[in-house]
Every structure is written in C-alpha cells, then in structure tokens.
C-alpha cells in the first residue's frame, strides 16, 4: 500500500453525551502518528477547545513544534462543508475512525454521495463496506452467521408496522435499539406493545432503522478491544467486564478491567470469538466487540451473544488504552497506513512489540459521572441509553480500593462507598434504586447493607454478580471494625486503607480530623506504594512513566524525580467541566517542557489528552483529593504545583495545599480564596468602588421574602445547600421563590441562601486574561449573544465584541486592572460583567483559567496559558498583544445533549446545561454565527417556522425578525396569541392550537408530521420557567429533532444572520486563512 501524501482527519465536534473528550485523545495521537510519517494532515473539527486543533508554536529557538496538523478547519461536520474542504484541499486519503460516531457517519455519507470517489479520496483502514457491515444490523447478523458466531435475536425494521410485528415474533419484553446511533441513543427495554408504540412514535423520521431484539437481562456484559492489521495479525489488547449486568448501557455501567468473574475457558473462549469475528469482518485498525455472557448456561458450555462491533476508536478504547498502557490510537493510526503489528514497537514500554497483549498486575474501575440533577424533571433512571457526561478511572490492586477511589474521583461529594463527611448518600428507598437502576444505585447498595440486607438479596434485585457484592460488603465490614475500635489498631487502619478508605472516611467514622488521621497513620508507617503500569506485569524491565498509588504494596517502583512541577488535572467531565480544562493543562505541560522543566501530571479522567503517555514526564493516574495530592507531593517534592488550569476541583485544593506547606504556583491561594468567598469579594469590590448587583445572604424564609420584595423581582436565588441538585434559579415572584426554596433547598443558618437582584435586559461580557504580580499582561474581551439570565457556559459568545461600546470595554478593562492588582494575580483569571446602558457591574471573578481560554487563545492567536505559565515561572511576558481589533469574527456556541436527557426542559437558564461547545470563524458576524450554530448540530431551516412567543415584550421585539423570515419566503406557523399578534401586525401566518387544546390544526401535528423545520419558542419568563404548553413544544422539538431556539436575542441574531448570508453563502476557510 502506498503511503498517502495528505490525509483529511475528521474530528468529533462538541462534547455531548455519548461522545466526550476521548476523541481529542484519539485524534491527537493519530495526527502525531501521521506526522511522524511525513504525511500532511488536514483536520476538520469545530471543537476549538481540543488539543488536536492546536497549530505548531515556536519554541524559544524559533523551531516549530512537531506532531500538529498542517491545517485546521473549524467547521460544522456536515456533508456540504466536508465536500468543500475535500475539493479545496485535495487530500488523497481520509481517516474516519478517530472522530467517534460523528466522523464515521459523515464518512459514510461522503462515500454514499460520491464525493470521495469523485475526488479520488481513499478511506484509510477499515473499508466502508465493512463499516456498513458493522453498522447495519441485518448485514451484521448475516456476516456473523457465516462463521457460526452467535448474535442476539434481532429484527431490523424500518417502519412502525414492521417494528410491532417483529416485537410480536420475538416476544416481550424486548430491547429496542436504533441503527447508526451513538451511545445507544433511542434504545431501551420495552415491556409491552403499548410501551413500544409510545417509544417509536416519530422515531423513523430521524433514524432509518430500528432493531427489535431478544432481551438478555441479567447476563454478564463483557467487551474486548481488538486490533488487527492488513496482514491479518490480530490481538485483543484488553477485556472489560461490566459490574452492572445487561440492561444498563456500558457508558452507564461501572466497568472493571480486566474481567473479574470469567474463568479461563470464558475469557479465552470469548477472545477467540472476537478474533475470528474481526478477521471475518475484515476490520483494519482498532475496534471493540461487546458480548452478553450467560452466567448460568444450561449445558455448562460457553453461552454468549455478540451485541455489537464498533469499527472505530471509541470511549472504551480510550479507557482500554489508559487501563493497560497500550497506545491504541497511535497504533491504530500506523496500522491504517499499512504497517503490520509486529513491525511496530510499543512506544510506551519501548521494550515490546505492538503485537502484544498487555498483562495487568492491577485492576481498573471506570465509574460514570452523571449530572442529571442539573435538570428539573429529568429521570435519574439509567438503562440502555447513555446519560452520563463523563467518567473516571481508578487504578489499584483490590476491588474495594478501586471502587472507593472511583467514587471519590467522580467529585459528587461522596467520600467513597460509605462514611461520607457530608452525611449524604443515604437512600431510604434503596430497594427501588437497586431493582430499577438509578444514578444512585451504588449508594443504595451501601444503604441496603447498612440495613442488614444480604448479598443474595441484592444479587436477586440487581443481577450484579455476587463476587462484586461480596467485595462491597467487605467495605461495610471494615467500616464496622473501625467503628468498634476506639484505639488505633494499626492493623485495622492498614486494612481500611487497603480497602480504599480515605483519611477523611476514617476520620468520619472515628470522629477525628482528616489531617489527624494522616498524622497517625504516617507515624504507624502506613503509606501508599507507588507502582508502575508497564503492560507486562513486571515480567521484564520496561521504561514507563505511568504511575498509580496503592496500599497493596511494600515497595515503590520509582525514585523521586528532580526539578519537577506538578499540574492538577480537571477530573471527570461534567456539565461545566469540559475538555477546555484539559486543553489548558496540556498547554501548561508543554510550556514547562519547552523550558526544560520536569512535569508531573495528576488526573483521574481517562478521556483526556493530559493523561497521554507522551504528554508529561510522570503521569499519576490517581485521585485529585488533598490526601492523594499530598501523598504524591511528599514523595516527589516538586518545585511547585499548578492548580489554576484544572477547573474547580484543582482550584478548591489551593488553600488546603498551601496550609499543608505545598508551594502553589501563581496567585497566592489566600487571594484565590478571597475571590471565591462571596463576602470577601463583595467587600473588596466595595473598597475598589466597583459596582456589583445587590445581594444579601438570608437564613430564614421570612427574610428571603422580605429581601426579595425590597430588591424587587425577579431575583436570583442561590442556596448553599441543595437537596435536589438544582443549584440556581430566577424567581419571578414570591410564589416561585417559595416553591423553589421549599423544593430545592434547606434554608438555615448552616445553609444560608444568597439572593441577588436579577438585572433584566442586561448584556453579559467576559474578560479572560493573564496577570503577573497583579499587572495585566494580556486580556480578551468577549460578549454574549444572550442577555443575562443564560449561564455563561450556555451562552453564544462572540469575539471580538460586536455590540459593546468602546467606552464599556475601556471601563471593563479598568475594573479588571483594579481587581487584578488588589488580588495580586499571577496567572490566568476570568471576570464576568453585566452591562446595561452605561452601567457596568461585576458578577464574579475566577482566579483560574476559565472555560473560554482555548477559545480566546485560538481566536486572538496568543496562547494565554503559555503566557500564564511563564508568568507563574517569573518570566518577562510583557508585550503588545492585539486582541480587540481583529479582521474576523469568531463565535462559540454551546453543544447541548437534551435529546439524551428525557424530561428535561431545553431552555437556556442560569443553571448550566450544555455538555460541550464549538467555535467557528467567519468574515462577518452573521457568517460566524450561522456556522457556529450549525457546528453545534443546528440544521438550517428550509421551508417553515413555528413561532410561539410568550410575553408581549418578546412579541414586539421579535416582530421585525419574523417579518424577515417572511421576506425569506418561509411559511410561518404561530400558536394562538402569537398568531393573533402577527396577523394584526401584517405578518401572514397560519394559526395552530396549543397541544393541550387538542384542537386541530395542532402544534403536535405540525411536529410529528415534520411540517416545520425550525421552532422559535420564547418562554414567558426570561431565564426559563414552567409553562406546560411551552414545555411540551420544546420537549417535542428535541425528541423529534426539530431545530429549536428558545432565546430572544439568539433568535434575532440568527434570523438577521440568515438573511444576510442568503446571498453570500458560507465559506470553508481554514483557520490560518483568517489569520493571514
């Protein structure tokens, strides 16, 4: 096979449920692997916060960095844009397997519409026909039947009638799954015909194929990661077993690697089937194969079903790669260029060939991170559809150890499996949570044990293998042993540490302080051992820098390093913590390296680039807790530790680390804390004479009522302790204030509530910047399209600002300088402002890198994190940085995953709901805005728009925009009041009745029949509020995949932009072309 000269690599776009940061890892590795071969790489990915979209920067000697793409297109991953890029760039090959399901689907479409053939673009690796064999259920089953490999009984259907017939044939209960879907979207258990009818309503408009399958509840779920080269060498790198049996999606399951309850016959039996299947299919590169395994086969023989094969890098391949230390993505990239496995060396160990199956002498446990309680009404049941937004991986040498580590790593306030400082995670109706899995199931199991329920009963309820349950029970038993001993018997403490108990847990159980326990156990010589991950279980020496800590060890594998700086990572992806922080951490590591300093990375998230083997000198894949960071720091004794690029988890450790004598780089943690504390920061603003929205802290319901009335509604309510999880709300009147406080929060002197004035119709602007010694070095100012009331993480952000007065910019900058000076900031920071008329107020200040650092860095062309890192090291970073007057416009849009979160109201509000973001460039604001929205999966309307506007003000302010739609020849439908208003004002439109009226023509009909391709629904109350009709429209729009706009400013901006680009079109320009 001849090596290609130029490869187009497709990325995965914004992070969403089912497709997170793991594809930044795989894409980045692929680029490095291609560049090593001297191949030009063109990357198409609108996710600006990724490492893969970085372009080379010059080191101190002026040499360009290596391993970067030659060209980057921040563009929507659609057929039209991809075709434009292909015609312009003329690549001779395309790589589809590094950008998740998004890239794979786009690749299939480009093949089907002839673009690839027409432009002589060859698909690297697995041929398209083979991809189709794996994606199309019928072809897949047929293929596997040819080699007598068993699949779940499954019937592919393409309409409702077929689906119902198929269900009858297989017999209820059944599993329903959508073909060509990522993360099991649209799938689930269906018990009877009625439920089936409900579920498939409208589904066939967005999916072409629905699978009706045999239900294998209670079977074990096992997965193998398989690698094959074009010469037919084939290996399995890793297997994994789900703790939650079949019925819970792998992305929702607790997963261990390697498998724990499989015998040799099962392990190697399934391995053999995996290799046979992948060879028969003809996959080249990396893939995974998922099985259901019968735990009680009648004949005693191996009884399995192949569930599916993913012919691409996936979430589990990222996990497998981090779990084993085998560089799957890098190897896969070389294989699709034609290399064979035996030809490649394992670049981690340097001692082994890539044709090698890692042997683990530890185990890992993956735990999903959910954020469902950010959404009102969202069900916390988990099942065959993925809802989790992130994950962590714990490494250790016992199941108890990894389970408890992982439960701390997911950062939801749990201290482990039991003994939580907060006293939370007590699940009263535990049986229900165990029987009908929810996000709380693991804590419900702990509660059940506490209540004396036996392993057998829990097994009966959950189907979880008793092996796992016995291990969980061990944890409870150790807790009991600690409880009954008032003295410190070192052997019991040692046992507790081996079972994964943190110092904080032991302190909670023994009613002592965390640091006291640390002291006591260190004096007793109970300290963790540092072990290496070497892929070969110590069989012979290998060079690796990949480390973890365990209490099941008496000897360290490494010696402390020298001249090192440690960086704290972001932990799991969650709403509010996305790939942006990982990007920032990677920039710090690269900057430190370029300066010749040793680097230590600490992180727990396997879906990251920062945890790649070639990014840091030492990688500690471990907890981001005070205890663990101190363990590492005490061993390594680094020169300093960077806390300002890992987001909130790292930031929150700053002061504690300082108090434990650790040198924190950059801003003094006491000053960081000053910005974090509402009282102190408010006092500081007052001293500086800087305006801020009026606020007050109250501890009783009566006081809340009184303060809100005094300020005047609407008010912003932020409880310090939350029962249901929803942390922030806008209350429009006394009634909604009462309702929210009663439902969501415990109001008391221990748990005060902050009430602040909500300024309506104010704009939001943000400054991201870097300071040194309190002096502003560089800053970027961006504005939100949406007015205040939309969380900054959910807002559409524009850089440079388009509507902000120069005077406002000047004043924001002045305020910024004052705050920076008084907090004596060194390093990154972000300040958010409210601007209304000529008044400017400060909402908050974060003395750390914010979500928007990659965006502002890439848009302005200055790497803010590099500057921040150098500032922290004491370098001279002063200079003239041009960040306001740019020749192009960039727009960043949020990426939502509402389709995954059934029942959630898809409005933009003060509580963040987006899971990721994208950004694009344009020659005009209009072009950038439209492209940016498209990059976040917004489909441009072609024919008809449904308008439903709550509140008079919204109707009046959007009238001009609706007229523009009319001018663009869109057919306009409107709900009752809106229609009346529009008609009176001379807009021709068709009136439709609200869903609740059940009158025809009805909104529901419009949606299910696919009549409209855009819905503009502006809720009555800004910032989102309950409105049953409005909610139904919005929810249906999401469920039926009709594009939806719920914010007035965005609607205005979009319609204006659409009319402006009508003549000029949307251009596929590369990033460097804008910067010329």
């Amino acid at each position: 096979m001849t090596k290609p000269k130029k490869i187009l690599l497709l990325g995965s776009g914004g992070l969403r449920i089912g497709q997170a940061g793991e594809f930044d890892y795989s894409g980045s590795q692929a680029i490095k692997a291609f560049k090593e071969e001297g191949i030009k790489v063109v990357l198409m990915n609108p996710n600006i916060a990724t490492v893969q979209t970085d372009l080379p920067r010059l080191d101190s000697s002026g040499k360009a960095g290596e391993g970067f793409a030659d060209r980057v297109y921040f563009l929507p991953l659609t057929e039209e844009f991809a075709a434009q890029v292909i015609e312009k760039e003329k690549p001779d090959a395309i790589a589809l397997s590094f950008g998740g399901q998004t890239a794979l689907n786009l690749g299939l479409a480009l093949e089907a519409n002839g673009v690839l053939k027409k432009n002589n673009v060859r698909v690297l690796g697995t041929p398209v026909s083979v991809i189709r064999d794996t994606e199309d259920r019928e072809l897949f089953v047929q293929k596997l039947k040819e080699i007598n490999v068993k699949t779940a009984r499954s019937i592919a259907t393409s309409n409702e009638k077929e689906a119902l017939a198929a269900a009858k044939e297989i017999g209820f209960p059944i599993m329903v799954r959508a073909g060509f879907a990522l993360g099991g979207e649209g799938s689930g258990l269906v018990r009877d015909e009625k439920e089936l009818k409900e579920r498939i309503k409208g589904v066939f408009r967005s999916v072409s194929q629905l699978l009706i399958e045999e239900y294998l509840a209670g079977w074990k779920e096992v997965e193998y990661e398989v690698v094959r080269d074009a010469a037919d060498n084939c290996i399995t790198v890793c297997n994994m077993e789900n703790v939650d049996p079949m019925g819970v999606h792998t992305g929702e399951s607790i997963v261990v690697a390697p498998s724990q309850t499989l015998s040799n016959v099962e392990y190697h039996g399934l391995r053999e089937v995996a290799i046979k299947t992948i060879r028969h299919l003809g996959i080249v590169g990396e893939c995974n194969i998922q099985y259901a395994l019968n735990p009680h086969p009648e004949t005693g023989e191996l009884d399995y079903r192949v569930i599916e094969v993913n012919a691409r890098l996936s979430r589990s391949s990222a996990l497998a790669s981090k779990a084993t230390g085998y560089p799957l993505a890098a190897v896969a990239a070389k294989l699709i260029l034609g290399y064979t496995l035996p030809e490649l060396r394992n670049s981690i160990t340097k001692k082994t060939t890539a044709c090698f199956e890692p042997a683990l002498d530890y185990l890992v446990l993956k735990m999903p991170r959910w954020d469902l309680n950010k959404f009102d009404n969202a069900a916390n049941r988990i099942g065959s559809e993925m809802k989790s937004v992130g994950e962590v991986m714990a490494i250790g040498r016992s199941f108890e150890e990894v389970l408890q580590k992982a439960l701390r790593m997911i950062n939801i306030g749990a201290d482990g499996f039991t003994a939580h400082r907060s006293g939370n995670f007590k699940i009263k109706d535990y049986k229900d949570h165990i029987q009908n899995p929810t996000t709380q199931r693991i804590f419900a199991i702990a509660e059940a044990f506490r209540d004396g329920i036996t392993v057998e009963e829990i097994h009966e309820w959950s189907g979880i293998d008793v092996w796992f349950l016995e291990k969980m029970r061990n944890i409870m038993e150790t807790e009991n042993r600690l409880t009954t001993r008032s003295d410190f018997d070192p052997s019991i403490v040692r046992k507790a540490k081996k079972d994964g108990f943190s110092d904080a847990q032991i302190a909670t159980i023994t009613k002592k302080k965390e640091l006291e326990i640390r002291d006591i156990r260190k004096k007793a010589g109970i300290i963790p051992a540092i072990k290496q991950i070497d892929t070969l279980a110590g069989e012979f020496p290998a060079e690796t820098n990949y480390l973890y800590l365990t209490y099941h060890g008496s000897e360290n594998d490494v010696q402390p390093g020298s001249s090192q700086i440690a960086v704290l990572g972001s932990g799991p992806y969650a709403i509010g913590t996305s790939v942006e922080f990982d990007w920032s951490c990677v920039q710090v590591l690269k900057t430190l390296r370029a300066k010749g300093l040793g680097t230590i990375m600490i992180n727990s998230n396997p879906e990251t680039v920062s945890t790649d083997y070639d990014i840091s000198d030492r990688l500690y894949f471990d907890e981001l807790t005070l205890e663990r960071v101190l363990d590492i720091v005490e061993f390594e004794n680094p020169q300093g530790i960077v806390v300002s690029t890992g987001g909130q988890i790292a930031n929150n450790l700053a002061l504690k680390l300082l108090n434990s004598g650790v040198k924190v780089m950059g801003t003094d943690p006491k000053d960081i804390d000053k910005a974090e504390s509402r009282h102190e920061f408010s006092k500081l603003l007052d001293e500086l004479g800087v305006d801020q929205p009026e606020w007050t802290e109250i501890t009783t319901w009566a006081a809340a009522k009184k303060s809100a009335a005094k300020m005047g509604y609407p008010v912003l309510v932020r409880p310090s302790y939350v029962l249901s999880g929803a942390a922030m709300r806008i209350a429009h009147d006394e009634e909604s204030l009462e309702k929210f406080l009663k439902k969501a929060a415990d109001v008391s002197s221990d748990h005060p509530v902050v009430i602040s004035k909500f300024v309506e119709n104010a704009r939001e602007i943000e400054i991201d910047g870097v300071c040194k010694g309190g002096e502003l070095v560089i800053y970027a100012i961006s504005e939100h399209v949406e007015n205040a009331g939309t969380h900054s993480g959910d807002a559409t952000v524009v850089l440079p600002p388009q509507r902000t007065y120069l005077e406002t910019i000047r004043r924001a900058k002045d305020i910024t300088k004052k705050i920076a000076k008084s907090l004596n900031i060194t390093g990154p920071f972000n300040i958010q402002f409210l601007a209304k008329d000529n008044r400017i107020q400060v909402i908050e200040c974060n003395v750390r890198a914010s979500r928007s650092f990659p965006f502002v860095s890439k848009v302005t062309g200055y790497n803010f994190i590099e500057l921040a890192t150098r500032a922290m090291l004491g370098d001279d970073v002063s200079g003239h940085y041009r960040t306001v007057d740019l020749d192009y416009v960039a727009v960043k849009s949020p990426q939502f995953s509402f389709s995954r979160i059934k029942g959630a109201d898809p409005v933009r509000s003060v509580e963040m709901a987006s899971t990721g973001e994208v950004a694009v460039f344009g020659d005009s604001y209009s072009e950038a805005l439209v492209k940016s929205m498209m990059a976040a999966d917004f489909k441009l309307p072609q024919k008809a728009v449904l308008v439903s506007l709550g509140k008079e003000e919204n109707k009046i302010k959007l009238l001009e925009s609706i007229k523009q739609l009319e001018d663009m020849k869109f057919k306009i439908y409107a709900t009752e009041n809106t229609a009346d208003f529009l008609m009176v004002n001379g807009v021709e439109c068709e009136k439709v009745f609200k869903i609740s009226t059940e009158k025809s023509p009805n909104v529901s009909e419009l949606l299910t029949e696919g009549t409209v391709d855009l819905i503009i629904n502006i809720p009555t109350k800004g910032g989102g509020a309950e409105n049953s009709d409005g909610f139904t429209i919005r929810r249906q729009a999401i469920d039926l995949r009709v594009p939806l706009i719920t914010n007035r400013q965005l609607a205005e901006g979009f319609i204006h932009a659409l009319s402006e680009i009508q003549g000029s079109g949307l251009e596929a320009k590369a990033w460097d072309e804008y910067r010329q």
Binding site: L262, R271, K351, F356
Partner: protein, 347 residues
C-alpha cells in the same frame, strides 16, 4: 505466615492454604486468568508460584474436566489478595479449600510485584513458605530430574483410530491429549524415557515438562532413533528443546524466563505474529542449529527462538503452548496441521 528467600528477604502475609511449611523454586506467572489450569500443569511441579494478577480465587475451582493433570502440581502459592468468596456456575469449591485438600501452602497480602521484580533479576530463586518455626533447607529442584518425577510410570492408550501417535509424556498437560484425540488417531502415552523404537507407530509427539532439558538424555536418545526411522515429530515446550538437542543444537537458560499468556511469536516464514501461552526458563540456541534446520518461530519481544523446523523432514516443534489452557488459543492450528498432514498421508 511468611515467604522467605535464600538471602533472607522475607515477606509477611496471611495463610489461606494448607498448614505446611514448603520449600521450592519460586517462579512467577503473569496470566490474568487460568489459575486452575496453571496449578495443575506438571511443568510447575514442586514450584512455589507467584501470580502477578492481584485478585485470585474469584471463580473458585471447577471439576477435573478443565484440569491439566490429576492434581495440583505446585508446592506453594503466593498472591496479593485471595478472594474468599468465589462466584461461578461451574465452581465446586474455593481455591482455599482446594489448596488445603491438596496440601499446598498459600500466602496472601504480600507485594507480588516487588517479589516478581526480585525474581526476574535473580533468575532461579529458592524460597520457603513458613507457617511456624525456622526456615529449613533450601532445596534446588533443578539439581534433580524433575521430568522423571512427574512423568507417568505406565503406558496409557486413548482412542482407536488408524493413526498411532506415540506421545512422550515428560509432564504433559492434559489439553495436549485432548487436542490430539480424534476419530482418526490412537494416542499411546508413554513415560519420558520409554523405548518406543520397537513399537509400531506413525508419528511422535513430545510434550512439555519441567526443568532443564539437558537432564533428559534418555529421551533425547529415543528421539534420535525416531528421526533415524523418519517418523514425523511434533514437539511442544520442553519437546522443542528435546528435539533441538536431538538435532544437535544446544539450549541455555534465559535471562528473563517467559511466564505469561501474552507472548508474541512470529512465524518466520509468513511474518504472522501470534499471541501464545508460555512457561519456560530455557531456550534453544538458534545459532547452534545444524544447517538443515531452520527457525520456525521467533519471540517478537526478545528475539529468542520459539520453534524449529527441519528443511525437508516432517520434524517441527514450538516453544510455546499451542494447546493453551491457560491462555490464548491462537496457535491450536499447529495440532490441526500436524494431524491433517498425517491423515492426508502427506508426511
């Protein structure tokens, strides 16, 4: 209880096996599953085995149908954590019960990675598992003929097909027999030093076995006779080394023995790489092979020899375990090829 080495290095842990003190060579194995198969493998006879995978006993112990011999062969067992609760549909007892019933001493709660690193550096290391009292004499099993100890004393016959295969059992794994028994074959399982030159047979199969191949002189002499008679030969593991010695090559002790289920071996002719199961400390010195012999497989990690083949005669052997159990089944075709060739009368 404690694990103590000849240099007095000691690891304290807890017992979960028989209450006996044992001495033996300490070796490690890196497979993540397959402890039942490994412990019944006669190649481990008399050894104290350290398992690098930290959680052992998870799926209990099934009936003898998956065992590699009639009994537990190891003398002692060292693990990081023993799972006192096991869970599997075919389990009949726990690993602890099995160890106790078999008189095998077992220790848990020690740093098996630290021990493994020590073993790999020191090579053959003697150790003892001590419950009480002082350590006894460190006996080196390699000074005795281990093969003679584990090889059967009687001849045993399986099947009644037309093709008679003499199976020289130097401490064979049962799965080799299972792999050879077909409607077309009769397997005559003989002791390691058995003189089969007078027997009527079509082919010769050489098994795996423990220890140093140079101690198996009588077996090598028999193989030379079979070669003189032009009989087809297939060897596995120790069988590879014995065939090499019979061909005139020499063997040596590897710096790092191969003790995993993940060892990549490349077929020198086709370039195809297979993942194999291995358990050996000695290897064939390829440079000493006579010119009419050629290497068949090479270790893809350290380049050591993993199999030999005669240029024209039907003689071949592999250093790894194509019968797997425990381990990957990638190379089971080697038996198929050998038997198919015999059946088709090609050799």
């Amino acid at each position: 209880m404690r694990l103590i080495f000849q240099d007095n290095t000691t690891f304290e842990g807890e017992s979960f096996g028989a209450d006996v003190n044992v001495a033996g060579e300490v070796v490690f194995a890196t497979g993540m599953t397959g402890y039942v198969e490994a412990f019944t493998d006669p190649s481990f006879a008399g050894q104290i085995v350290v398992l690098t995978y930290p959680l052992i006993g998870n799926y209990g112990v099934p009936d003898k149908s998956t065992w590699e011999s009639e009994k537990m062969q190891i003398a002692g067992l060292v693990v990081s954590e023993y799972s006192s609760h096991y869970s599997h549909h075919d389990a009949l007892s726990s690993l602890s019960e099995w160890c106790k019933a078999s008189g095998v001493s077992a220790i848990q709660g020690v740093d098996t990675r630290a021990i493994t690193k020590m073993l790999r550096e020191k090579g053959s290391t003697l150790g003892q598992l001590i419950h009480s009292g002082e350590a006894g004499v460190f006996s080196d099993p390699n000074t005795e003929n281990l093969v003679a100890k584990v090889s059967p004393k009687e001849v045993k016959t399986y099947g009644n097909g037309p093709i008679r295969i003499i199976f020289v059992d130097c401490g064979a794994k049962e799965n080799i027999v299972r792999s050879l028994v077909r409607p077309e074959t009769t397997i005559v399982r003989v002791p390691w030093d058995y003189d089969y030159s007078k027997e009527e047979y079509h082919a010769l199969m050489l098994s795996n076995g423990p220890g140093d191949p140079q101690k198996c002189g009588p077996a090598v002499e028999q193989i030379k006779k079979a070669m003189a008679a032009g009989k087809p030969i297939l060897g596995v593991c120790l069988g590879n080394q014995l065939l090499s010695l019979a061909a005139g090559a020499t063997t040596y002790k590897l710096p790092y023995g191969h003790r995993g289920q993940n060892v990549p071996c490349t077929d020198v002719e086709t370039g195809r790489c297979y993942i194999t199961s291995q358990n050996h400390g000695f290897a064939v010195d390829e440079a000493t092979l006579p010119s009419d012999w050629k290497p068949w497989f090479k270790n893809a990690n350290d380049g050591s020899n993993e199999g030999i083949k005669h240029a024209s005669k039907p003689w071949r052997s592999v250093q790894f375990h194509p019968e797997a159990s425990p381990g990957p089944t990638d190379t089971s075709w080697i038996f198929d090829q050998f038997l198919n060739d015999l059946i088709a009368n090609k050799i």
